[in-house]
């Protein structure tokens, strides 16, 4: 048993979970700031970005060190590769949170109007995907990760619906265009969050089962 190596792997996992905590908090705050129109939460999201970026670099370096120094193989190699990929996806989820916060700040300059889009519902589904994918990572549960992949279509459909209804609104009521455009971007940001959650789930499956399920959505749906 390579005790030190195993401890280093545990430590890498721990660091990634801290990173995941920061990212989840950022996305949660961005969603809350939309629902409550609380711009102070937007500030917190924007201020969390440097910490997330720093953690991404540190985790990448730790993973690189382990690859160079320990020459891991099989499940350990797959784990480190998965960590590197998940790390990158988490950082991008953080970027989406920042983009959402910036849109909400911009929306704050205009009157609060009712838009034909259920952003909180879309946000809650995208955030649930991230949470589930991370849970699958914590528990090394490929079945749970698999279930995340099936949720992505729902998020995509909700985003497509938002695009249709907001485009129509922009055509019919051009005075609402700034608000509708920001909501459109937020919807797109949340759809991207769903994509990153899907990537994380695929990485968990790769780590646990050794199978690469990326870009196989059609096959997956046929199987389910």
């Amino acid at each position: 048993m390579r005790i030190k190596f195993q401890q280093n792997l545990d430590e890498l996992k721990e660091r990634l979970l801290i990173m995941a905590g920061l990212v989840e908090q950022a996305i949660q705050r961005a969603i809350e700031s939309y629902t409550a129109r609380d711009l102070s939460l937007c500030d917190l999201v924007l201020r969390s970005e440097p910490a997330i970026n720093r953690m991404e670099r540190e985790i990448d370096q730790a993973a690189l060190d382990l690859l160079a120094m320990e020459q891991p193989m099989a499940v350990d190699l797959r784990f480190i590769i998965a960590v590197i990929r998940i790390n990158s996806d988490l950082e991008r989820v953080g970027d989406q949170a920042v983009s959402i916060a910036s849109r909400i700040q911009e929306m704050g300059a205009f009157a609060n109007i009712d838009l034909p889009v259920d952003i909180p519902k879309l946000a809650s589904l995208a955030a649930a995907m991230v949470r589930k994918a991370l849970q699958a990572f914590i528990e090394g549960d490929a079945d749970l990760a698999q279930s995340v992949l099936l949720l992505d279509d729902q998020v995509d459909e909700m985003n497509a619906d938002a695009f249709r209804s907001l485009s129509m609104l922009i055509t019919q009521k051009p005075e609402m265009a700034p608000q509708a455009l920001n909501a459109l971007i937020i919807s797109r940001n949340l759809e991207r969050v769903g994509d990153h959650a899907t990537n994380i789930a695929e990485d968990v499956i790769f780590w646990v089962r050794g199978s690469d399920v990326r870009h196989q959505t059609a096959t997956l749906h046929e199987a389910s």
Binding site: M1, R2, F5, Q71, P72, M73, A74, V75, D76, L77, R78, G210, S211
Partner: protein, 252 residues
């Protein structure tokens, strides 16, 4: 050219100890195949069965079929013929210490009654070139003894000696474990180059080495072949939990 090796229901014993149990595998021709596993798992016994060296020990015996390019080496060939067709390189370089470099390489041919000097010269040069040793020793072929060159050079001399009899298969039992990293890299480069002409089977404790040089890898444990597959598969997604536990250092 190298030949493929087909092993069917191979069993081997040392006295009452059943050291190899029902081994079945196909080693493709003109590729390097690595055998890994913890000490005492049977991998060295296995390669010794491939050139009938195992049976030279009076308490050892082997049963089963080993087909080398279709030839059943236990039924249709003598141990002497097999030694010519199958070269072997050991962990510690074992040149004949009192013989010159030239005579070390030519020894196998001379033993087989080969006397034509010009042809011997040609074979010695060709073999030393194949073993990437020619440039380093060409001026001292008859002046220096096999024991007077460095450990890495001695190992390449042993490879040249094995190649001189024009074998089809080259067995290497931990050929670089006693060498420094530079000499190890030279041996690995040699394996890469030689596999186009010979079938190479290498036993190694160094898993990175197996990953670097071999197209296929077999994992032995307690006298059994647990898994045999493409090296990339073995080292990234092995099928058997025992293989994974071994290569990730969880036991062994």
């Amino acid at each position: 050219m190298g030949v493929d090796i087909r092993v069917e229901n191979l069993n081997a014993w040392y006295g009452n100890t059943h050291t190899l149990q029902d081994i079945n595998l196909h080693i493709p021709s003109n590729q390097a195949t690595a055998l890994i596993g913890p000490s005492g798992c049977g991998k060295s016994t296995f390669v010794r069965c491939l050139n009938r060296m195992h049976e030279t020990n009076p308490i050892a015996r082997a049963e089963g079929t080993v087909l080398m390019g279709g030839l059943d080496i236990y039924k249709d060939a003598s141990p002497v013929e097999i030694r010519r067709r199958v070269g072997m390189v050991f962990q510690r370089p074992n040149p004949f210490p009192t013989m010159s470099i030239y005579d070390n390489v030519a020894s196998g041919l001379k033993l087989n009654g080969f006397r034509n000097k010009r042809m011997l010269d040609e074979v010695v040069e060709r073999s030393l070139k194949q073993a990437a040793l020619w440039e380093e020793v060409k001026d001292d072929l008859r002046k220096k003894s096999g024991a007077s060159i460095s450990g890495g050079q001695q190992q390449r001399l042993c490879i040249a000696r094995a190649l001189a009899v024009d074998p089809e298969v080259l067995l290497m039992d931990e050929p670089a474990s006693a060498l420094d990293p530079v000499s190890t890299a030279k041996i690995e480069d040699l394996i890469f180059q030689l596999k186009s002409q010979y079938t190479i089977v290498i036993v190694t404790h160094n898993m990175q080495q197996a990953a670097r040089v071999a197209a296929n890898t077999g994992f032995f444990l307690n006298g059994k072949l647990v898994e045999f597959d493409a090296t990339t598969k073995i080292f990234t997604t092995p099928s058997d939990k025992r293989t994974e536990d071994y290569i990730t250092g969880r036991f062994g």
